[in-house]
């Protein structure tokens, strides 16, 4: 599609859900209520590791106002010896994550839940539940969990034949690394640590659930996929999917973490037992203690190069914290770390390590930032040692079309080089930087790149004409950051009608076909594809109706700028028929006009990003401030540029938080000490500068509009870019995140 001719695609239109969101009318998860509704609360383990010998709920049940109590007995058990998968989630772990079964595995692990006439009564009833715990020694950090004498979380986990906390190992291999390193003129090997960080969405998990007398269940909740909510609730409660309707509320941020659920199955069982609708809302404290975060990590990356900078071998070892149950995003660091580069010999190994923390959940490009942090810092050191420009080193080694990746894919079109060149040619990279602007202040500049797989997958859409000649478009994925705006632009463009005549809605599980999660940077890619195909079918119907009215062949009708016209003089002389006119005649000419498409979409090629950042370090206080940030990314086609920029800017700032200030702090008792927004320090408005996005629009040839996923790649480079900038400022390298004031001072003082 030629960008110059576009009337709506690429325009900064007002989002369809905008007015509701600026006036407080939009209905998020906790905003729904029902007549007769009662409140659910969760009792959580005070111990990081304990056998649950028994639970006595009788006193709680006897408390006036209590309507139901639920424990693991009420949730479907998935025995440990047989994996049952829903997407990438293993139900053996999910059933134990939403309600502790044999053991409490982290401080805050749910052990029971109560529904009562008020939150206060439910809370009081939780305190009356008597849990007989056998407290066990706990382990929090990776290095401790992999020691031979570490407390073992699960008897069923074996590593190299022995009981272990290493739940799984992932190995990706290409060529022969030993032979590769033997050719190297320079080898750099470094180890890095990162801390678990929370996705930090502002909307806590919440749901309202009704279980009617006929067994029909309705769930109002926000998630990254109403079909996931339905399927997982069905698996964990035993209620068939056909009896569950999951209605997607507006979602107040997810960033991957709302691709699983915590409350819905519990609320359904409370509603079933009590016969009353049940509402559950997590506190922020519960969100921090018991949901997310993403894995902390311990990595070693070794890269060998020739004198001219060509990389001959790379090896990565990545230990990731899974939390109390297996499931670290190993694929992220193992598959992404070296993929931007053309390296013949690669060995990339990941270990999934359980310890007594909350089970990790997906976070924006899951695991990839950890790997890029290590790899891109090592590359920075290599460039320094070789005396080579940092971007030149990357340009020399960029992956090529037809190149094979360590994770098995073969690259088609590849657009990494363009992101590096965009930064290299940007005035930011060449601007002079006063490295010592005042006493006690030093400045530095850093660069780093990143890679994310992107995804296609199942999506459904339905495009219907209204009787008055306007259009409704329904898709099946929650809109986390403006996807409805993009869909409105696409539909208006294809139909040739004004943007304001199109309504874009998110259907519930009973009103639209199956659609996979909003995740993997897939939604704009996949939904634009199914909406395009649905709209093309509608245009086909419109042409047929016009042909019928004109009594000519449908092939002789074209659709142009919102009207049916005869294809040429030979087709006949008829005045054009507008969409409105055809809609008005629809019923007499054959019935309602509308079409849907359900598809497993493919062709979502990977995304690449290269970032440049200037930082300032206060050497007395250890404070690092980001002064300037430029982020280049191949975005394919920006259907709505503002929301593409927003993805880049938001991802970068999450990366800044990960690099500089965010971390989980556990005390010696295995309890999280900073479960609040005050103590878990996410970037606030005054912490960051404007973030300049460079959108490189190189159309993805496998998509009707050229779309490429954009949401995740932006969080991959910032960790290393900032570490490299701090090195440029201080002349010291950092091997551990976050680079918070105490850690920065430690490194400065060590001089």
């Amino acid at each position: 599609m030629n960008a110059i001719d576009n009337k709506w695609i690429g325009k900064r239109t007002i989002r369809p859900d905008g007015a509701d969101k600026v006036t407080g009318r939009a209905g998020y998860s906790a905003d729904h209520s029902m007549p007769g509704m009662i409140w659910g609360r969760v009792l959580r383990s005070p111990h990081p590791h304990a056998v649950i010998r028994g639970i006595d709920t009788s006193k709680a049940e006897a408390l006036p106002g209590v309507k139901a109590v639920v424990t693991a007995k009420d949730i479907v058990d998935f025995p440990l010896d047989k994996s049952v998968m829903l997407g990438i989630q293993d139900m053996r772990w999910m059933c134990r994550n939403i309600m502790a079964r044999e053991k409490a595995l982290f401080h805050g692990h749910p052990v029971a839940a109560v529904a009562a006439i008020s939150e206060e009564v439910a809370e009081a009833a939780c305190k009356l539940i008597e849990v007989d715990y056998e407290v066990l020694p706990h382990v929090i950090e990776i290095e401790d969990a992999i020691k031979p004498d570490a407390p073992i979380l699960h008897d069923f986990v074996r590593h190299e034949g022995k009981p272990s906390n290493i739940a799984t190992t992932m190995v990706n291999k290409l060529g022969d690394v030993d032979a590769g390193f033997a050719q190297a003129d320079l080898i750099i090997e470094r180890s890095f640590k990162t801390r678990p960080v929370h996705q930090g969405y502002i909307e806590p998990h919440a749901c309202t659930v009704s279980h009617a007398a006929d067994g029909k269940v309705t769930i109002w909740s926000s998630s990254q996929g109403q079909f996931m909510v339905r399927a997982m609730t069905s698996l964990l409660t035993g209620i068939p999917q056909s009896n569950i309707r999951a209605i997607p509320a507006e979602i107040g941020g997810g960033f991957g973490a709302k691709t699983i659920i915590y409350l819905e199955p519990v609320a359904v069982m409370l509603a079933k037992k009590s016969g009353r609708p049940v509402k559950m809302v997590m506190s922020r404290d519960e969100v921090f203690r018991a949901t997310g975060p993403t894995s902390g990590s311990m990595s070693t990356v070794k890269i060998g190069v020739k004198k001219d900078g060509s990389i001959v071998a790379a090896q990565g070892t990545f230990y990731l914290q899974a939390g109390g149950l297996p499931g670290s995003p190993l694929r992220g660091p193992v598959g992404c770390s070296f993929s931007p580069y053309n390296i013949e010999n690669v060995l990339s190994v990941g270990y999934d390590v359980v310890s007594n923390r909350s089970k990790v959940a997906a976070y924006r490009a899951p695991g990839a930032p950890l790997g890029a942090y290590a790899t891109e810092c090592v590359l920075d050191e290599i460039a320094e040692k070789l005396g080579m420009d940092k971007l030149e080193l990357r340009l020399k080694n960029t992956a090529k079309p037809g190149g094979k990746t360590v994770y098995g894919a073969t690259f088609g079109q590849i657009t990494f080089k363009e992101t590096v060149e965009a930064i290299k040619n940007h005035p930011h990279y060449t601007a002079p930087l006063d490295k010592n602007p005042s006493k006690g202040v030093v400045r530095g500049r850093g660069v780093a790149s990143g890679f994310w797989f992107n995804a296609g997958g199942e999506s459904s859409a339905q495009v219907n004409l209204t009787e008055d000649g306007n259009v409704t478009v329904t898709t099946g994925h929650p809109d986390v950051g403006g996807s409805r705006a993009s869909i409105a632009n696409v539909t208006a463009e294809l139909l040739g009608i004004d943007h304001s005549r199109i309504s874009v809605l998110i259907g519930d599980t009973s009103s639209i076909g199956f659609s996979n999660l909003t995740g993997g940077s897939r939604v704009t890619f996949a939904s634009a594809m199914v909406v395009t195909q649905s709209t093309e079918k509608v245009i086909g119907q419109l042409k047929e109706r016009a042909a019928k009215i004109w009594k000519i062949d449908p092939e002789a009708v074209i659709w142009d700028n919102g009207e049916a016209r005869p294809a040429g003089p030979n087709a006949g002389q008829f005045p054009p028929l507008t969409l409105k006119e055809l809609a008005a005649k629809a019923n007499e000419m054959g019935g309602p006009i509308g079409a849907g498409v359900q598809l497993n979409t493919t062709g979502a090629d990977p995304g690449f990003a290269t970032h440049c950042v200037d930082v300032e370090v206060d050497v007395d206080l250890g404070i690092v401030r980001v002064l300037r940030y430029t982020a280049a990314q191949d975005v394919g086609r920006a259907l709505h540029p503002s929301y593409v920029e927003g993805q880049i800017q938001g991802g970068v700032v999450q990366g800044i938080g990960w690099a500089l200030s965010e971390e989980y702090l556990y005390n010696a008792k295995g309890q999280l000490d900073n479960a609040s927004f005050l103590d878990y320090r996410m970037p606030v408005c005054s912490d960051v500068p404007m973030i300049e996005p460079i959108m490189l629009e190189i159309p993805n040839p496998k998509h009707p509009q050229g779309v490429r996923g954009v949401g995740e790649a932006p969080i991959v480079p910032p960790l290393a870019a900032i570490a490299n900038a701090i090195h440029d400022a201080l002349g010291k390298r950092f091997y551990s995140l976050p680079m918070s004031p105490p850690k920065v001072l430690e490194v400065i003082d060590a001089r």
């Binding site: 900064r12 905008g18 600026v22 929301y643 920029e645 927003g646 606030v684 960051v688």
Partner: protein, 159 residues
């Protein structure tokens, strides 16, 4: 404990409600009065999603006891637009895409309006520090700050 009877003004309308002595204003707004535009992100005054004005002063409604608001004037996000006419900040936020998920947006708008009433010509730094009590995890703040500065400029030229 017996409920307390409170008479107050919310978005210009005389309002009465009953509350427990321990209930926050946010809880009453959301769960008693059905004004769910103010959001609970933390309940500890750290995220700003529940921002309201109390006698014109910006505050987190989760930190105000509902029993204390008798005789005072409260404004919430629901009172920001005049009928169908959006406040210039609301309109600019839409035009400049200063929201993604939108959960922080009511609080950010309330805070930004309070800023512009106090300081119609803020610098970027002043906007950033004034909004430092409103967490946003989606936007990286860039478009929010630009929208506030742009609205301020337009409101000044219209005045």
């Amino acid at each position: 404990m017996a409920k307390l009877h409170v008479t107050t003004t919310i978005n210009g309308e005389p309002t009465e409600f009953l509350c427990d002595p321990s209930q926050s204003m946010l809880d009453v707004l959301r769960n008693t009065l059905g004004l769910t535009g103010s959001k609970e992100g933390c309940g500890t005054g750290d995220c700003g999603a529940c921002s309201i004005t109390l006698d014109g002063r910006l505050t987190c409604s989760c930190l105000v006891l509902a029993a204390e608001v008798g005789g005072h004037e409260i404004n919430t996000i629901e009172g920001m637009a005049q009928g169908d006419e959006l406040h210039p900040l609301q309109q600019k936020f839409l035009e400049m895409a200063a929201l993604q998920c939108g959960i922080c947006t009511p609080g950010v708008l309330m805070a930004a309006r309070a800023l512009l009433e106090k300081n119609p010509d803020p610098t970027e730094t002043e906007v950033r520090f004034w909004l430092a009590g409103n967490l946003c995890r989606c936007t990286g703040y860039d478009k929010i700050v630009r929208a506030v500065l742009e609205t301020a400029a337009e409101m000044r030229s219209a005045a």
